[in-house]
Symmetry: C2
């Protein structure tokens, strides 16, 4: 069983393509907090994540940041392929949040696969479709959603079933593209309502139900 089986969209690759892919790609490991790509550092390979997560974020001229999306294990940094083949930088940067293991498919190999395999094309364009839809969702959220709802949503997401979150108010503000003070105020309010407990650098969800309820309203 090779890594290919971790990617649903690739399981149907015909044998020839499959062995070509296995041969020409290699598995890389990058430590946490590595900048994988960014302005002036265009990617040389398409990455398929086996372990870890990559955070893709953007920084404005004024230095404010916002998280655009995350790439998780089993997914690919597919949007970077656009510049991979177009030889264009894009303005976002990708950062490994944890130690990350990934399959790297070099530009030339990627191009050949897109050319040779309808299954691979399907895989690539499906991934595109999902990411672009994600981006539309982010735009909608920023433009129209209230902050308390967005924060509740993010807390549930970051907690991921557990009850404590290790993050600073500052980091949360970057997640949502807002100011630190706004996060502090909202969290105080959640605390006042008995939903959470806070200490420096951590948040404990002591009553997650109303948070989840708020999140999906």
């Amino acid at each position: 069983m090779s890594w290919i089986d971790q990617f649903a969209g690739l399981s149907r690759l015909p044998d020839g393509i499959r062995s070509y892919l296995l041969e020409e790609s290699k598995i890389v490991t990058v430590p946490a907090n590595t900048v994988i790509f960014g302005p002036g550092k265009s990617p040389e390979s398409l990455l398929l994540l086996l372990d870890g997560t990559v955070r893709v974020q953007q920084t404005s001229d004024a230095g404010r940041e916002i998280v655009l999306y995350r790439v998780h294990a089993g997914e690919s940094c597919v949007l970077t392929t656009a510049c991979l083949l177009a030889y264009e930088d894009y303005s976002a940067e990708g950062i490994a949040e944890t130690e990350t293991r990934a399959v790297a498919i070099p530009r030339m190999v990627f191009d050949k696969l897109v050319s040779d395999s309808v299954e691979f094309r399907q895989f690539v364009f499906t991934a595109y479709s999902k990411r672009i839809t994600d981006l539309f969702f982010v735009i909608e959220e920023i433009a129209f959603q209230r902050m308390d709802i967005r924060l509740a949503h993010k807390l549930i997401e970051l907690a991921d079933g557990k009850d404590t979150i290790s993050s600073t108010h500052q980091k949360l503000s970057v997640e949502l593209g807002t100011a630190r003070e706004v996060i502090s105020r909202q969290l105080s309010e959640f605390q006042r309502r008995g939903w959470i407990e806070q200490s420096r650098g951590t948040i404990r969800l002591i009553n997650p139900d109303p948070i989840a309820k708020l999140a999906q309203s």
Copy 2:
């Protein structure tokens, strides 16, 4: 001279591909305000615009709208190819703003071209790259830019060198993903400063310089 020469990225297609493309695509004309694609109406073809513009916008559950980007003559609705090949809807809709003439490349032909021509792949991925960068820009603007600056920017863009703009406050608010009242207030302020004159459905820029200056700050 065929329509192909209106698309810089396609001019280098080899003859075989070129004639295949000419043969298998057809030129379509749609009247103004046609919904070209949208939720539940996934596109069957990639469109390359010869004339007119297509507005791509999104509507939130609460019914609020925001314009994501526009496709102009000489450009392609390339993001739709993601769902074209992935058989997925996406949540945005595309509307012809004016009568629009376009080349329609059917799904199967698109797939074959992507497979057969490195030049066509380059064209497609370059277009992707540009659009995605646009989306990042939109996100940054919504998240971090002041309304007066964004509005000034939009007025200059819509004026396009001329001095009158035909648009309602409502339409401008959709352009910027904000409320009509906000636009009304901002425009009153611009008027108070002697930058514009307003009448029902039109805005005249009587002093565009300070508007342009505000736009790029």
